[in-house]
Subunit: 223 residues, 2 copies
Amino acid sequence: MNIPIIRKVLERNDAAARENRELFDSSGIFCIDLLGGAGCGKTTLLEMLLPRLASSMRIAVLEGDLETTRDAERIAALGVPAIQLLTEGGCHLTATHVRRALDQVPLESTDLLMIENVGNPICPANFELGEHCRIAVLSATEGDDKPLKYPLLFRTAAAVVISKCDLLPHVRFDPGRARAEINRINPDARVFLTSNTPNSDLDELTHWISVKTRQAHGAPMLT
Amino acid sequence: MNIPIIRKVLERNDAAARENRELFDSSGIFCIDLLGGAGCGKTTLLEMLLPRLASSMRIAVLEGDLETTRDAERIAALGVPAIQLLTEGGCHLTATHVRRALDQVPLESTDLLMIENVGNPICPANFELGEHCRIAVLSATEGDDKPLKYPLLFRTAAAVVISKCDLLPHVRFDPGRARAEINRINPDARVFLTSNTPNSDLDELTHWISVKTRQAHGAPMLT
């Protein structure tokens, strides 16, 4: 594909992303784009986070997927409004996908909009959706060389979640090395280690999202 | 991106793929495209397979990656000729990428060409490279819902490898369910369960590849 066409596609997307961002800001919505490879645990992370966050804020979720509505069903089962965006084979969400779905989001009664992108560590990182920040997910079973392999994803993420850390005893994955590589690419990125066990940074991540959301709303920071 | 542009890109790719295929056939090369998500274990699978295959055939490997040459270095360490294809941020290999790299492949002394595609279960499945068959890799840590989520990948694969099966005791992944969903999408697909333990279908997979390669060369089938 030639460069002028790619540039035009990205410019059109960026214009739509700016419109989304203006709508989020005027509606008092903080928007997070959640990115990562297929099966890295994005939906499971949402299943763990949403019940913790839902006590202090009103949340809506956009679920990006190629073909199925399974992830949206998993989120809706938590009692959180979930809208499925099907890309019909497309490998990433665009700002236009998001804009179309916003008709179904109760904007006035939403504080935090979480967008779960398509499972792909590459293409989605090129497309701004209007989000205020990105969280990248990397599972401990994928290998600690992934930050170097997919630098755009990790360079543009405000936080990186290393998921499935309960499997660390069984895989060759050095969380220290992964953290160092992430922070070499992106010195400001916060890194959180999560798992399905109590020994996890889930509380810290919940707190981080809460603070970011409250800050965006002009409310005083949590202490 | 609009449909006519996508169609034109795919048509141009298919033409290049046909040329590659003709070159493979006239050179007596059997070509396999290895596809799967980031960190699903494609390079590790090659590290396990190549020493087993190398005793009976001459192999070359093309390694697709976005930015780094790590995977090609891992393969070259096995003594197998490995050529790195960098897509410079692109999310899939194209037939043109492959055609350019073939200058560096010793065509006359190669029986099997393995192409490891970019770590992405979505886009690479749309691009024929001239391969004779595809092997899809799905790791047990990704979740058994992935065949339904990425149907094109599993529909077009002659074989599916469920990797990292040594982790099955630690994850919610039902190999029977995965196998059933794969064969519902693609009734002809062979499914192999692999792991880094002796209890694995690695011998069966090695045999399957050997037979396919020998058949392509007109040699009698292994028994």
